[in-house]
Symmetry: C2
Subunit: 508 residues, 2 copies
């Protein structure tokens, strides 16, 4: 009998299946479901969630894990998988079952309400749901335990080992340096980007984006692209990894780079070892989320790497701009490679996080992390959130949204109960830069390869050092192993300086 | 505390949720899922199915039901719901749990294999899966118990109270009378139908079909139309009822009347009382299928009624043909109402059941019922099925398929483990005619209303007498209550005679 036939592995696989099922229900609700379905889909999600939580927190499971771990090499995959499952069961059991159920139901309803509230710019519609969610999350943080700040308890769920204090240190380095770089840029002549605002028909955008996503390595036999209000990647194991986007017919980058971003996530999921399908190395049991990446931050590092380091990079466009021109011969007829490269790296403070450029993105994230920390500490009330948002945006980027639609309501995260996850976008930026540096060291021909549209060597390096392992290692262990360094913002700042010196022709 | 707060009602609702979840997984697999998903989706279905079966067959549930039924009026909805749940639990418990699991997994795999086998006309690919399914179904019939024939045990699951002997009696009346009518027709000049074979672009067909489906009463706020190889209707409660079709660009009726048919099913689901959402009156607990109709046969009566009695009827087209012409002005420019009405009721024996006309459909069904009965009795082997199919088609309709694609592989039913369900198509035809007669008695202006495209009065009558009740009554009780008669093929034969005397201008 194989080790993996032991009873707790059967439970591990079934729990993984239930997480994939939750993802299917969620994907459907966000891309296909008619509005009437909102009346019952929250019940469906809550019921599967309850079954899942019940099985994971059944004390018999931890006893069985202890039995099944006997005699296993503590460094073996089998042992580690069981340890991760056990850790999730232990942490989850800290939270009372009724609170779990309430959370599942509340976030399902709130997500549906957000779908209406955002286009209507109606914060009041979402507010009671958000208040309930913040209250639940504060209770959860208390139940999970923390040393310094309730935010740490939630952050640990997504990025084990990182604390609010560390984040503040990273933002403390990044944000002033980025602001200084932006200041130098503001004195420069902005490159032209008029052509990005021409009419780009959605269907043609879809074809172009899929073509380039496949070039990066997204396998459509195991994936598909749909439309949703807020773009996302979601997986039901490595065999079925789906992405979404939204099309702006008057601005090419929204969907095009959105798809490159989500394809980066998807390539990671599709690259996890087949041996880890339906296991702890591809299931975030603690967060009840079927996901194959080491952490939210490491996952984000891959969307960032493929979007920003590859698909917004000079080498890539030097070789591949003609390919894009073939999709849009009229719209791009009077544009050369240099103009295109500079335009898609234009720095312009804007309201929308998902459309932000590389030099303002972290300011968006920093604001959200601070607001979350204050909500959780109880020093900010949900009712004061729109005002705090607006004054925060003013301070960070000097702009303010005329409504809540493009302000505090723009992200689905809070409505879907994700508090403590925004930090991972910046952690992703930081880690992407470190991993790209390491890959470049190992692949001296990387720029030449990307120029030729050959993404396989980079993908192979990332698969060998990151993707194949799924959730086997913690982010810190993975980064040390792959790059030889702990998490460090220096390479990211160096790459930003290099890129924007080039884009804006700054004096060195 | 409301009666419905008693513990077994909470279980009832959660079991209903799990059935809706299975339907979402199945809908996705058949309409959206990339091919890679086939590697894992069967596991997802099997896991949810196992959770469902485990909870339904937990002996504690039947004990709780007995407690919760105490003091309830035996004719109350609450009492009846619990009785139905109890009956399903009792019957399901007759089947050993491992057999349940094997069935769930086998049919999931077989359905996926059928998706490949049919276009390739490769019966050998499906054969081992079908053999396993027949063997499982024979075991299940033994476990469920029967008096005369193993087919009865399965038929009872879908159409309680009906037996193979009764079916043979119905077919014994219907098939010879239909054959005799076909013989009279064969001597007549066939109406022209050349215009149905013109080029009808799929997207335009989609718009037309949706427009007419909405006219019948299909609510798109609680529904949507997708493409699948085999058309179907599926519901995740009355709030989300989806239909599918397939488009033949060179034959209008395939998709158009296919959608009218599935819309008929959907209108039934959407019309069940809101009070019955997530209850035994909208859940087929025995077959693990979220469905709001009294039985498969009664459900089919509504697809037949809306497709054949309404949307292929003379009054409807007398008033609505111009509306269809507006969608296809070129294709239908030289066609008048009479020609269109006669063309869409053309009788022409063909290979494909779902495209069969009203005078040959029951012959397709009769063949399948006999083959199923023989497979279950063990007098026919799966390996001999293609040959038995072909000789049966020859005997029934005088035609033979050149390949298995349009022969024995044409239906998804057997691959998806549905043995004993085909009979319900003919039961549906029979009951549709009885219900239409009863509605016409109650609505003297019905023809005038249908001519004007006013389907609300007919829908209201059907909602009052059939739809609202969901699965509350058995088919026999429902038919007696709605029409005053037991199941009887006479009205159906009379309506067929009237229609085809008109269409073919037969002498009375």
């Amino acid at each position: 009998m194989s080790v993996f036939d032991r009873p707790s592995f059967q439970t591990m696989r079934e729990l993984a299946d239930l997480l994939s099922v939750l993802n299917v229900l969620s994907w459907d609700a966000r891309t296909q479901m008619p509005s009437g379905g909102n009346a019952v889909r929250p019940h469906h999600l809550a019921t599967v969630n309850a079954v899942y939580t019940q099985r994971l927190t059944d004390p018999a499971l931890r006893r069985q894990i202890a039995i099944d771990q006997k005699g296993l090499d503590p460094s073996s995959d089998a042992f580690l998988m069981l340890s991760q499952l056990d850790d999730a069961a232990e942490r989850l059991a800290r939270i009372p079952l009724p609170l779990h159920h309430e959370f599942a139901q509340t976030k399902a309803v709130a997500t549906a309400v957000w779908q209406e509230a955002r286009p209507a710019s109606d914060f009041a519609l979402l507010r009671p749901h958000l208040e309930r969610l913040v209250s639940i999350k504060r209770e959860m943080a208390q139940a999970l335990g923390f040393e310094d700040h309730p935010y740490d308890a939630l952050l640990h769920q997504y990025e084990p080992g990182v604390t609010l204090a560390q984040l503040r240190a990273i933002f403390g380095v990044l944000l002033p340096a980025q602001a200084a770089l932006r200041e130098r840029i503001e004195r420069c002549q902005a490159p032209r980007d008029d052509f990005l605002h021409r009419h780009y028909p959605a269907e043609r955008q879809r074809q172009a984006a899929l073509s380039f996503a496949q070039m990066l390595g997204y396998d459509l036999n195991r994936g598909r692209l749909d439309i949703s209000m807020h773009p996302f990647e979601i997986s039901f194991t490595r065999h079925d990894v789906r992405i979404t986007t939204r099309y702006a017919e008057d601005f090419l980058p929204t969907a095009f780079f959105g798809v490159m971003h989500e394809a980066g996530h998807a390539i990671y999921e599709q690259g996890v070892s087949e041996d880890y399908t339906r296991s702890a190395f591809t299931s975030d049991y603690l967060n009840a989320y079927a996901v194959g990446g080491a952490s939210f931050g490491v996952h984000e590092s891959q969307s960032r790497l493929w979007e920003n380091r590859v698909a917004r990079g000079r080498p890539f466009w030097e070789g591949q701009f003609e390919r894009l021109q073939a999709f849009f011969p009229l719209q791009l007829r009077d544009v050369d490679v240099d103009e295109f490269y500079r335009a898609v790296n234009l720095v312009r403070p804007g309201l929308i996080r998902v459309e932000a450029d590389e030099l303002t993105y972290d300011a968006h994230v920093g604001l959200r992390v601070e607001l979350e920390a204050e909500l959780l500490a109880g020093t900010l009330e949900v009712r004061d959130l729109p005002e705090a948002w607006n004054s925060g945006m003013q301070a960070a980027l000097g702009i303010c949204s005329p409504d809540d639609r493009d302000g505090v309501l723009q992200d689905i995260h809070w409505a879907s109960g994700q508090f403590g996850t925004f930090a991972n976008y910046t952690l992703g930026n930081v880690m992407a830069a470190q991993l790209y540096d390491a890959a470049q060291m190992a692949l001296p021909e990387l720029s030449t390869q990307l120029r030729a549209g050959e993404c396989a060597p980079l993908r192979a390096w990332l698969t060998e050092h990151v993707y194949q392992y799924g959730r086997k290692f913690t982010p810190n262990a993975l980064m040390l192993q792959a790059t030889g360094q702990p998490i460090d913002p220096a390479p990211y700042l160096r790459q930003l300086n290099e890129k924007f010196t080039d884009v804006y022709r700054l004096e060195a």
